[in-house]
């Protein structure tokens, strides 16, 4: 039961991780309005070098939220995996898992 719960939590976090990435992408897509595009073309013509960075505060906040969320998800997944490793290593020690060639 405990194992199933952890598995569910792991899958849930993975799904949230990818869904948040997709939402972020949709959000970006909506932000690129005609006006902003014209502005960007003007900026591009004015400068020689393009240094990519968030275009506005909304985009910038979105990126910080995404990075923070990504690292939290990674740390939680690593914690769950470390528990799983401990468990499968214990099973190996108890000979429930085998390394012998059949």
């Amino acid at each position: 039961m405990k194992l199933r719960k952890k598995k569910f939590l792991g899958m849930f976090l993975l799904v949230i991780f990818f869904v948040s990435f997709l939402i972020l992408q949709l959000n970006f897509a909506q932000q690129v309005t005609q006006e902003e595009q014209e502005e960007k073309v003007q900026v591009k013509a004015d400068q020689d070098k393009i240094i990519p960075s968030p275009q506005n505060i909304k985009e910038s906040t979105g990126i910080y939220v995404f990075v923070a969320w990504m690292w939290i998800a990674i740390l939680v997944l690593i914690y769950i995996l470390s528990l799983k490793i401990r468990e499968v290593d214990r099973l190996l020690k108890l000979r429930f898992l085998s390394t012998e060639k059949k």
């Binding site: 992408q25 970006f28 070098k49 990504m70 995996l81 490793i85 499968v88 390394t99």
Partner: protein
């Protein structure tokens, strides 16, 4: 309990043989086990390269007029375009760094010894193809720096006696770097090199599965029994942790340090100051710079290029040269490996100063 779809697929593809193989596969567990994770890290970055490459190719235009403009469009107009380009660029660096680490760890642990000679040789080919990917990809944004670096890079083979001029012409698609070179490099980058890398990867992975994971020489000579863990699930769980950490590092770097883009290159414009290739070519670049104009009866460039070719050939045939790794010759080859690592690091730092 198999579902209907699983049985249907199994009847046609024989998937149960693969799952049986993965269930029975084991991985040695010892103090050098960390090196086993570098191979799968390369596969991770290669997969990211393929996915982001597909995304970029939808918008990239490999023409003299359109190349720089299309990259600028990807970076400024396409939603998340700058992150995709940045991930592609950073992932390439990560992949090549891990290819170097993977090969050097194989060298230092002498894992290329009998019967794994062909695994090493296919690995050296994979390094060459990875570097070729980096070299051809560097020109694609078509800015001042990439054009000048490609001019320098494609001029290097010219120093090879007899075939040099022909190789340079083949790479450039003419006497000089032009729009034809750009189209040619794009062709190499998205169609010719991928075919090579897929074939080489298939051979390399097949050989690893056939021979099994190698033990470091020092451990094997002790003749003690080494602990093994099942590939599934014990090793895969550990590997997933490494993948998650690498993905986190890749996305963080790609978001906070994205590569910039200079203005479109002009073919007739003088070369800008401070031309430098990508970091993985810096030690070769610096080596070429330090050679004197004339050595014996050869020009400095020809001497340096021939020397590099010789080192490359020796590197490829290393398992055959180092055929007695446990003896004195093997120890000398290990020292040479360490000296070469220090040399490459020093030259890279020197080039950056």
């Amino acid at each position: 309990m198999k579902t209907g779809i699983q049985s249907w697929l199994d009847e046609r593809f024989g998937l149960s043989n693969i799952t049986k193989f993965l269930k029975e596969k084991t991985v040695p567990q010892h103090k050098h086990s960390i090196w086993y994770y570098t191979g799968s890290a390369i596969l991770l970055f290669f997969t990211i390269q393929v996915i982001t490459g597909f995304m970029l190719v939808f918008y990239y235009k490999p023409t003299l007029e359109g190349a720089n403009e299309s990259v600028a469009r990807i970076m400024t107009e396409i939603p998340l375009g700058w992150i995709i380009r940045s991930v592609h660029s950073w992932s390439a660096s990560f992949m090549i760094a891990f290819v170097f680490i993977h090969l050097l760890s194989t060298w230092l642990t002498k894992s290329y010894r009998n019967p794994r000679e062909l695994t090493w040789m296919s690995g050296v080919f994979l390094l060459a193809v990875s570097l070729a990917f980096g070299f051809t990809g560097y020109l694609l944004p078509w800015d001042d720096l990439s054009l000048s670096a490609t001019k320098v890079g494609t001029d290097i083979p010219r120093s090879i006696p007899l075939v040099g001029a022909w190789v340079t012409k083949l790479l450039r698609g003419g006497e000089d770097v032009t729009g034809d070179t750009l189209t040619r490099f794009f062709g190499f980058h998205v169609s010719i090199l991928p075919v090579f890398i897929f074939i080489l990867l298939a051979v390399h992975i097949y050989l690893i599965q056939k021979q099994g994971m190698s033990l470091p020489l020092a451990l094997e000579s002790k003749k003690e029994e080494v602990k093994e863990i099942p590939f599934w699930p014990n090793f895969v769980y550990r590997e997933t942790i490494v993948w998650l950490l690498l993905l986190g590092a890749l996305f963080s770097l790609a978001i906070f340090f994205p590569p910039s883009l200079d203005k479109a290159a002009e073919l007739m414009a003088p070369a800008p100051e401070g031309i430098k290739p990508e970091w993985y070519f810096l030690f070769l670049f610096q080596t070429l710079k330090i050679f004197p104009a004339k050595i014996f009866f050869l020009t400095g460039d020809t001497f340096a290029v021939l020397l590099m070719l010789l080192v490359g050939i020796l590197f490829f045939f290393l398992p055959l040269i180092d055929n007695k790794p446990a003896e004195r010759k093997g120890r000398i080859i290990t020292i040479i490996a360490l000296v070469l690592i220090v040399y490459a690091v020093v030259m890279t730092i020197w080039s950056l100063l």
